[in-house]
Symmetry: C2
Subunit: 248 residues, 2 copies
């Protein structure tokens, strides 16, 4: 399983992802799910991926190959980031179809993959999309400034409470980490290292704030411990239930 | 959608359920999902239900009818609560199969229902089971003292953090309400009134602590507001991320 999320704030974009992949409980591996493409001073792209690892790796690889081969359309040529989201959806569908001809064995084969695609092309604002396994996509709105893929539910409540458009990048990154911690506690197939980065709007270059936390990282351990302590304290501050009302 | 949960603590059993059902967004209704069966001084049973409303209503109705008709097996005769869980699984399967013959239209028809079944039969300890739509069931363990059905993920993290075997019934009830609040915030089809009750181990009678909170209930409103405030405070107490490390 996987948990990736991205947040669009006034300051820019925050991305966060875990690094655990598994194909059955006996085949657990570590792969970065955060992929970055840069044309210095002109455009920046970050892709987070969830779902079938073969599909998502093939898509990321094809984006690179298309840039190198200077094909008719590639990330370096795109006028709009929305077209890049469309293109990634198409690459994903092509990869999924490759192994779906009638003759191939496909018991339990689930080739689908989801992507979060965010970045900026010079002259346009920062944008953030989610590309579905079906190839289509949605974008963030002012009312809904974050997107999640993979194991999304455990970590959503804290995002709903904290994230606003004017949230600072530090708070947004911290909230993304807390959201990931909640997910890891409830789903053992989401795990470290955890990567979190911030792309500053209009910077258009590769200098980003980036952290990678191994399981034993002192900050990560402190953050998890503090959150657990603070949640308990918060819970203990709640008003107790009123006097019992006997039923009938 | 639905959210129901039950917690087995040393003191007894806590049950909590929302009351919203929907069949499409334009058909939203309110039904209690907490059903109670009592043979004063001898046995107590609480059933929480999620899934197809026709199936779960039919199951609850059949349990009553079997008791009235004094059939070969019914709740009042059961020797073990586990047999009651089995019986509910069988009733559920029978109901689901009723409308699944080959001639009936069944586009999008999902007859499955899940049940949480808890209580006590004189001479045995309190027990808590979850009955799957397939008819089989699992029980709680010391390490995993709670069970959830319906929209389970949003509300799980707080249960993981707070609930232990020696948690008091007041704390367990409050935690169940907080868990339900988190679920309601993230899923609009889970909604009030919220029912929460506590069955005291070995009491074997109907006197239970029971609360029913309408959306405008003062305690419910205070609890929700306090939790939102306290979570934000807790979040603000977390250590900020260290100095940024530029990514090469």
């Amino acid at each position: 399983m996987t948990y990736c999320l991205a947040i669009k704030i006034d300051e820019g974009l925050v991305f966060c992802s875990d690094s655990r992949t598994n194909a059955g409980a006996d085949q657990v591996s570590t792969y970065s799910k955060m992929h970055r493409f840069s044309v210095e001073g002109d455009r920046q792209l970050v892709i987070l991926s969830a779902g079938n690892l073969a599909t998502s790796q093939a898509v990321v690889s094809q984006i690179e190959r298309d840039m190198q081969a200077d094909t008719d359309f590639h990330f370096g040529k795109a006028e709009y980031l929305e077209d890049v989201a469309d293109y990634i959806g198409q690459l994903s569908l092509e990869q999924q179809k490759k192994f779906l001809d009638d003759d191939s064995p496909k018991a339990g084969y689930k080739p689908g993959a989801s992507f979060i695609v965010g970045g900026q092309i010079k002259g346009s604002p920062v944008e953030l999309f989610m590309v579905y396994p079906q190839g289509n996509h949605i974008r963030t709105s002012e009312q809904h400034p974050f997107l999640q893929i993979g194991e999304t539910k455990y970590g959503k409540p804290i995002l709903d409470r904290i994230i606003r458009n004017d949230t600072s990048h530090e708070v947004a990154m911290r909230c993304a980490l807390v959201s990931t911690d909640s997910t890891m506690r409830s789903n053992a197939t989401v795990g470290p290292p955890i990567e979190v980065m911030f792309y500053k709007a209009d910077s258009l270059d590769e200098t980003a704030i980036y952290h990678r936390y191994e399981e034993s990282d002192p900050y990560w351990l402190t953050l998890r411990k503090s959150w657990d302590d603070e949640i308990r304290k918060a819970f203990n501050m709640l008003p107790p239930l009123e006097d019992p009302v006997p039923r009938d």
